[in-house]
Amino acid sequence: MSEVLARLAERFARLLGPDSVITDPVRLRTYECDGLTNHRASPGLVVLPDTAEQIAEIVRACAAEGVPYVARGSGTGLSGGALPRTDGVLVVTARMRRVLDIDIPNRRAVVEPGVINLDVTRAVRPYGYYFAPDPSSQQICSVGGNVAENSGGAHCLKYGFTAHHVLACEVVTPDGELVELTADGPGYDLLGVFVGAEGTLGIATKITVRLTRVPETVQTLLAAFGSIEAGGTAVSEIIGAGVVPAAIEMMDALSIEAAEAAVRCEYPPGAGAVLIVELDGPRAEVGAQFAEVERLCRDAGAFEVRIAADDAERALIWKGRKSAFAAVGRISPAYLVQDGVIPRTSLPGVLASIDRLSAESGVRVANVFHAGDGNLHPLVLFDDAEPGAAERAEEVSGRILDLCIENGGSITGEHGVGVDKARYMPRMFTDTDLDTMQMVRCGFDPAGLCNPGKVFPTPRLCGEVPGVRKGPPPYEGKAELF
């Protein structure tokens, strides 16, 4: 451990107690990655604070020493957004999991950043409310992480992303100040800038979330199609008819196989694709629209439509979908989870291209997607014991993102850029775009110590004039600082 980290460790042990500072190399290594395992770096130091004031103190100490730091919640992110720095401090919020206030008349709750997404719903459920953002990892991902990544989920088609459900954040800024960012004040929407900044602008220490009324009724169906194209047609028809489902999810044959192996969800055998459509809202509206959705599915060629009769049946339908990512571990030794967006109408074309790509490269790709908003989650399968397989998978995964960009889409729908996709940013944005974003970052974090190395492909010094760069960059040799 470097001298400066040792100094910080000692200081933090006094501040937090020795049980909340991890310095043992074996223990540190268990924090080397989040949900994305192909990027690893053992943190220099791990701290587990209990309060916002402690986080502010930690950040101030890091700022004073010029040591980088990274915030981490439950460590389930899929873009390496919480990848630690070997020369830095990992600030883990897992012990800050108190629900501080439940304010039903104003439909809001105040939680600490380590509170688990689903625990917000559990806390307010007795009052007839829930927390709408529902990433598939909702049983373990933290609200702080949701804020950093602006997490979505199957139901964000109708209800929006985390950004639409956060009313205020208490934040420790990179200079160690504790500030409150709110959505409703005059002036710039700094909360809007903060949510989804992937932890590069500060650390959220208290989050005020919006609570959503549990809908009067929910209806879910599972439609099985012979092909992805037929399923895609059904999606377009449903959206085209003016229905806004709470969710439309599609899975292809390979991901169905994986889910089946993992949780025995009993989807119709022989399906080339299944579509899960869920409607919620007032009973009368849902009833009428549901009949239409069922008809549209059958018209598009669904050979079987199952309607969930009760909660248990609905849970069974969702079980396959929600476990799909991890379930792929049953059919492949290793895999990459990709996250890209395309216009909904390009779905059949892009999927056909992915199929071609898969056939040419011999790399299997399973597809799971939030079909309603064109958010694809291709799962690129490989055997990590086979030399070169990981590189080939990486290559295919990157080409899928190219397809998304070519079709007018995006390199990430909800998992974030993190370290994993920083290198793809230039494919989507011009240098000027990226410089503009960096200037925003510099406004918050001029020293570049707050989750450095994420989102942007190349580090740059704050104060450097954006624009055309000639010769060696002025920060050469200092890159490791940023």
Binding site: V26, Q138, C141, A326
Partner: protein
């Protein structure tokens, strides 16, 4: 509020899916399940973190190293050459072995096998401190031996009755001597009479429907004899001839789940022999049933015993599992009592038995079953855990007791002696007066038309009123 509660859950406000797969039915898994291929088993983990919220130690401390994902990472580090260091052993020791992670893992990681193999390696290679060794030896030389436990009953009863118990507890002398010893002392249930069961109990109430063997266990037999008596009566009243072989001893569960595999194998062989003559073995202690269902893999490499062990595993049933398969025949009489049902880990996660005990209880007229929140999180008993890790166990016990109290049930029903002792102790610490009973005792009361008060006014299963 009631109207709101009746609204259907939107799935996004839903509990996440559970695979609800018992830890032992990995028959469809490729046979890298053999311990030789430890590395492949480690590879199954994709680091998604879905195991974290149901891991008791992660719930307590929020630390990666004390989660299944983190422990697997430590196992990987060791596999890749890092020495079995003290911190590593500490985190492995802190695992309760509750297998909640096996239930919640979507990737099918066989953590049960991983931790068992790891514990065995720790036992082989890691030198423990003399004090630790002494207490471990004492535990493993006492609990698996019903006769030794029996010899302890007299002094223990005297200790409880003479007031010495109160004196010792107030003095805190045991805490200072050894927290493990103090934990053992606190957990001992109040002892009553211990009726001996005959070798055979005849079926009653019409034609005989089955002949079943019954495991009496060690702690169950000596500390909760009422549970065994109730089990035998319920089976007989449901038309079963109950065979209780004298030759049976400890099933080896404690040893197996603590990495003492040779010891466990010896116990297993003896149990296999004792029960070879019956077609079904009914077990009323979750930990024992779970271990017996594991015999197949425990003795897989022993050519002389593999087939016989597999046969025993195949015919082992938890009491509730067996009674539901058999179907009810004896009339249930009303039992006006509100119960909270506690899932023993080795029943729910270990054997996938969740619905059966609830169904049996719910079928009793006038009995109301309430759910305990976070049912998948361990109460902290976990075999020997509350002895070797008393602090963490007490914290988990307190959480569980708190969740039980919220249900406002009059009676807590659990199907494992360890859980009963653990939760009864925690409830007692909180000054709560909730009685604890085994599923068998509740059924017995209903079948025999005993009043609910017989169950309510007691401190623990089989125990005297306290």
């Amino acid at each position: 509020m009631t109207a709101q509660n009746e609204l259907p859950d939107p799935p996004h406000a839903h509990e996440p899916p559970h695979t609800h797969e018992p830890a032992h039915t990995h028959a469809d898994e490729p046979q890298h399940a053999a311990q030789g291929d430890f590395s492949r088993l480690l590879d199954d983990c994709v680091h998604c973190g879905f195991c974290l919220p149901t891991c008791p130690t992660y719930v307590l401390w929020g630390e990666e190293m004390d989660s299944p994902r983190g422990r697997i990472h430590l196992m990987r580090q060791h596999e890749e050459g890092a020495p079995l260091s003290l911190p590593m052993v500490e985190h492995f020791d802190r695992c309760l072995g509750c297998m909640a992670c096996v239930t919640s893992c979507p990737s099918g990681v066989q953590y049960d096998k991983l931790i068992e193999t790891t514990r065995a390696e720790v036992e082989r290679e890691h030198p423990r401190s003399p004090k630790e060794r002494a207490i471990r030896e004492a535990v493993f030389r006492l609990f698996p031996y019903p006769r030794r436990l029996h010899a302890l009953r007299g002094p223990l009863r005297a200790y409880q009755k003479t007031g010495l118990e109160r004196l010792v507890r107030r003095s805190g002398v045991l805490e200072r001597l050894s927290p493990s010893l103090a934990a053992m002392e606190r957990l001992a249930p109040p002892l009553g009479k211990a009726p001996r069961l005959p070798e055979r109990v005849a079926a009653r109430g019409g034609e005989r429907r089955a002949t079943v063997g019954m495991l009496t266990g060690c702690v169950q037999r000596e500390f909760f004899p009422g549970v065994n008596a109730a089990t035998a009566r319920v089976l007989a009243l449901e038309g079963c001839d109950v065979v209780i072989p004298k030759a049976q001893g400890c099933c080896g569960a404690l040893s197996l789940h603590s990495g003492r595999q040779d010891e466990a194998r010896a116990f297993a062989r003896r149990t296999v022999e004792a029960f070879e003559a019956v077609d079904v073995i009914v077990v009323n202690a979750a930990g024992c049933g779970s271990a017996m269902k594991e015999y197949e893999s425990l003795l897989a490499d022993d050519p002389a015993w593999a087939r016989r062990a597999a046969a025993l595993s195949a015919k082992t049933r938890d009491l509730a599992e067996f009674l539901v398969e058999l179907g009810p025949r004896a009339p249930r009489r009303p039992l006006p009592v509100t119960v909270a049902y506690h899932d023993a880990c080795h029943l729910s996660h270990g054997q996938g038995v969740r619905d059966q005990p609830r169904a049996l209880l719910a079928a009793i007229p006038e009995l109301t079953v309430r759910e305990i929140s976070s049912p998948d999180v361990c109460c902290g008993s976990a075999g020997t855990y509350n002895i070797f890790q008393p602090e963490a166990a007490a914290e988990l016990g307190d959480r569980k007791a708190g969740d039980v109290r919220v249900t406002e049930a009059e009676l807590l029903v659990a199907a494992n002696p360890g859980c009963s002792m653990q939760i009864a102790t925690a409830l007692g610490r909180q000054g709560a007066s909730i009685a604890v009973a085994h599923t068998a005792e509740v059924l017995d009361a209903s079948l025999r038309g005993r009043p609910a008060s017989a169950l309510r006014g007691r401190g623990g299963p089989g125990g005297r009123a306290s």
